[in-house]
């Protein structure tokens, strides 16, 4: 949907001067530039790391990166939908934390399926509450989800009484994220499926179109018959659900959980990945694919710093600068299109 050249087949009628055609060309160029935006630095970074670091291109290292990023990728994919529909979700870190401890508490005594279902359900409920507060009470999404992240963090502490939950490597629960298929762990497979499904949802379905409309111009969307509030509630619910899923994946991978895991650090990493991927913070524009690349780009930077033995201190500085560049480019493109 973000690629006009793919479906730019019908040419209707040229304006008398051919001037509209020219402007169309310029705009298309800008659009495709936006498309390519994150792919090019990603490719460059990938090549650089391949050359400079021996272990980087090793399959184990690459799979390891994907495995570590599974939860972040899932959450960022759903977060993209929230942003596109004109919202923002800062509560995903706390929701993720709550989901891990809920799953941990249940997995310690009950069946793994129940634990996983409970984690996802927890996320869905939190997301639904977020969505309802934002739409029904018309409270700014940023404030709502910020406030909710404190509430959820408190609930998670209450659930665990502040303790660390550690699970044994016995049950089927461990297999949830660590089962191998074609030498790739199930966490990566699940993430792949989840990201592809959300990507198609945004780019190929009526629901995706409605999200874009709601975020682009809510008033126009509503008058065109789009149920803007419903769309927003669904995106928040999906975002919460994704945080639940991410939590379930990670506690299965790591077999330990505590209330403080995730938190605002995760929320910001997710948001950084989305924005680096070129999704507009202003809504109405974005892509799940590019979010995936954005998250992996950030992960590659971390991985590269580790492999090359650079002080991790610089990692944060570099990440911050990249984020600024990404947002700067976004607003520059928008200014040029005026």
């Amino acid at each position: 949907m973000n690629n006009p050249s793919a479906d730019d087949v019908d040419v209707l009628e040229e304006d008398g001067l051919g001037r509209v055609g020219l402007r169309a060309g310029a705009s298309k160029l800008m659009q495709s530039w936006r498309m390519a935006g994150i792919f090019i630095p990603f490719a460059i970074l990938f090549v650089i790391l391949s050359i400079t670091s021996q272990p980087f291109l090793h399959t184990t290292n690459l799979i390891n990166i994907l495995d570590q990023q599974a939860a972040t990728l899932c959450i960022a994919a759903a977060g993209t939908l929230v942003l596109v529909a004109g919202g923002i979700d800062l509560s995903v870190g706390a929701t993720y934390g709550l989901a891990t401890v809920v799953a941990g508490e249940i997995a310690a005594h009950h069946s793994p399926v129940l634990a996983i279902a409970a984690a996802i359900l927890t996320g869905l409920v939190v997301g639904l509450v977020n969505g309802l507060i934002v739409t029904v009470f018309r409270i700014n999404a940023l404030i709502t989800t910020l406030a909710m992240s404190f509430v959820i963090g408190g609930v998670a502490l209450k659930v665990t009484s502040g303790n660390l939950i550690v699970l044994s490597q016995n049950s089927g629960f461990y297999r949830f994220a660590n089962a191998q298929f074609l030498t790739i762990p199930s966490a990566v497979w699940m993430t792949l499926v989840f990201v592809v499904v959300l990507g198609l949802l945004l780019s190929r379905t009526t629901f995706g179109r409605y999200m874009v409309a709601s975020g682009g111009n809510a008033e126009a969307a509503r008058l065109a018959g789009v149920r803007v509030n419903l769309i927003k509630v669904v995106t928040f619910t999906l975002s919460g659900g994704a945080a639940g899923l991410g939590g379930a994946i990670d506690i299965s991978r790591l077999l330990s959980a505590q209330a403080a895991s995730g938190g605002s650090a995760l929320s910001f990493t997710v948001l950084a990945g989305i924005v680096v991927g070129g999704t507009s913070i202003a809504g109405g524009q974005g892509s799940v694919w590019r979010t995936g690349i954005g998250v992996l780009f950030i992960a590659l930077i971390g991985n590269g710093f580790n492999l090359l033995g650079i002080d991790p201190l610089y990692q944060q500085i570099v990440l911050g600068l990249i984020l600024l560049i990404a947002v700067g480019l976004d607003s520059w493109v928008r200014l040029r299109r005026r």
Partner: protein, 479 residues
């Protein structure tokens, strides 16, 4: 735009006319420093000017009042007027002095605005007044006005005309870009016609007529401004019935719309016309009354359901309420009826393109490609996009709120033809317009609103300008 030469004299009103895309706004933007010319020069008095930004133009006494208002919603009216030229000592603003100057200025131009209202809460027409006052407060030597009266009611327009004349009398040069030919003829001293980015001619306003101007703009003469009215069938089945409807800004309104009928709604800006439209469309909290569409009753608060039942609305502001400016023509058109081109929520791209291209052809939208963002289209074509969206809904009733606002003469006629054709095909149409001629030229019947009520219903012989104006201004209102 290419090779246009123009001399604007102090103390005169110089009008620029032409169809949308003819280059009048571009020319205005060059004068006001928004766009830099590729070639050619700009001379002010004896000085050669190179304007790189509106700020530099401002420093040279060139002020622009744009089509879209440029106010800060969170500031008060007075703060907006003096934005950038605050009356202040060391950064501290003299509020009382600002307010005093504001009152003097408002009195001078005859605008009825309170300095302490939040600008964001104002109606469009009032926001425009704020823009105009800001320009006036800077004692501009050249004022460029791009469609200043498009959103104003007739009495407000008259007041603005007076202001424009007094500006010219005080020695300013006014560049007036307008689609209203009667306004151009009555206000300006010289008129420059542009077509396809080229200068056609500059004439003295006294020697011009509406016909000669239209001919210059189109390169051909427009035989009639409005299509021939088909007689209304009084026995046709009723499509829409509104009974005692009350909502914010709407008091106890009742109306009936028949198949094939065009019903005009007139009244001053703020009389409740758009509010009534949105109440019928169920986009407002309706406090009393009923809306029946065919056999179904529209209830609740859901534009979504209204569209499904066969009611479509073209809102008054295509930029704020109509289009997704950054998205493609295709997405804008299909938005309301994605269900027609999708299966289980999955959009069939080919079906969508086919359906959209069909309605674009029917509504005569000119776009280089349907992948083009809506913002790249001219005003007339943007408006037609909204018609295309409505046509795709195949509604039984269409409410068109200001269907030709900011649209050029040629596109206007195309939109009129479209409305008449849709009515001929059996649709019931409500046309709301601030342009009296438009309502009278299109409608079979006219309702006049005042203070949220319907103050008169006119048809046949009684449907004329005097009767409508009398009802719009009438003091005693009958239900």
């Amino acid at each position: 735009m290419s090779d246009v030469s123009l001399t604007i004299e102090a103390g005169r009103v110089h009008a620029l006319i032409g169809e949308n895309g003819a280059g009048k706004s571009t020319l205005g933007k060059i004068i006001s420093g928004v766009i830099e010319p590729d070639e050619g020069t700009l001379t002010l008095g004896a000085r050669h000017l190179v304007l790189r930004s509106p700020r530099e133009a401002l420093a040279n006494g060139i002020v622009t009042i744009a089509q879209e208002t440029a106010i800060v919603p969170g500031l008060t009216v007075a703060e907006n007027v003096y934005l950038g030229s605050e009356v202040a000592t060391m950064g501290f603003v003299h509020r009382r002095e600002a307010r005093r100057r504001f009152r003097a200025l408002a009195g001078h131009v005859g605008f009825d605005l309170s300095p302490d209202d939040l600008a964001g809460n104002l109606a469009t027409a009032d926001k425009q007044k704020v823009d105009i006052m800001r320009a006036l407060s800077r004692n501009a030597s050249i004022v460029v006005m791009d469609e200043p009266t498009a959103a104003l009611s007739s009495d407000e327009t008259a007041a603005l005309h007076k202001t424009i004349r007094s500006l010219a009398r005080r020695g300013s040069a006014v560049v007036l870009i307008s689609h209203f030919l009667s306004e151009v003829l009555s206000l300006s001293d010289s008129i420059t016609t542009l077509r396809d980015g080229r200068l056609i001619r500059t004439v003295d306003a006294k020697s011009a007529t509406e016909e000669s101007l239209i001919e210059g703009m189109l390169g051909r003469s427009l035989t009639a401004a409005f299509p021939v009215k088909a007689p209304a069938d009084v026995a046709a089945p009723v499509l829409l019935e509104v009974e005692h409807l009350s909502a914010p800004g709407v008091v106890d309104c009742s109306l009936v719309l028949r198949r094939g009928e065009i019903l005009g709604i007139s009244g001053l800006v703020g009389a409740g016309r758009s509010e009534l439209a949105r109440a019928i469309f169920r986009d407002a909290k309706v406090s009393a009354g009923r809306v029946r569409l065919g056999d179904a009753e529209l209830a609740g608060h859901s534009p979504h359901r209204s569209i499904q039942r066969g009611l479509a609305l073209i809102p008054e502001s295509r930029k704020d309420m109509g289009l997704l400016m950054g998205r493609s023509v295709r997405e804008n058109v299909s938005l309301s009826r994605l269900d027609l081109v999708s299966r289980l929520g999955w959009i069939a791209a080919i079906r969508e393109r086919r359906a959209v291209s069909k309605v674009l052809e029917k509504t005569n939208v000119k776009a280089a490609s349907m992948a083009l963002p809506a913002m790249m289209l001219s005003g007339g074509n943007q408006q037609k996009l909204l018609f295309a969206r409505s046509v795709m809904c195949s509604p039984s009733v269409l409410i068109a709120d200001e269907p030709t606002r900011g649209v050029d003469v040629g596109s206007k006629r195309a939109i009129y033809d479209l409305l008449v054709e849709m009515a001929h095909d059996g649709m019931g149409i409500i046309v709301i317009s601030s342009e009296l001629e438009e309502v009278l030229g299109l409608a079979h019947r006219v309702l006049v609103m005042r203070h949220g009520r319907i103050s008169a219903e006119l048809s046949g012989e009684d449907m004329n300008q005097q009767a409508v104006l009398a009802a719009a201004f009438a003091e005693n209102v009958a239900g």
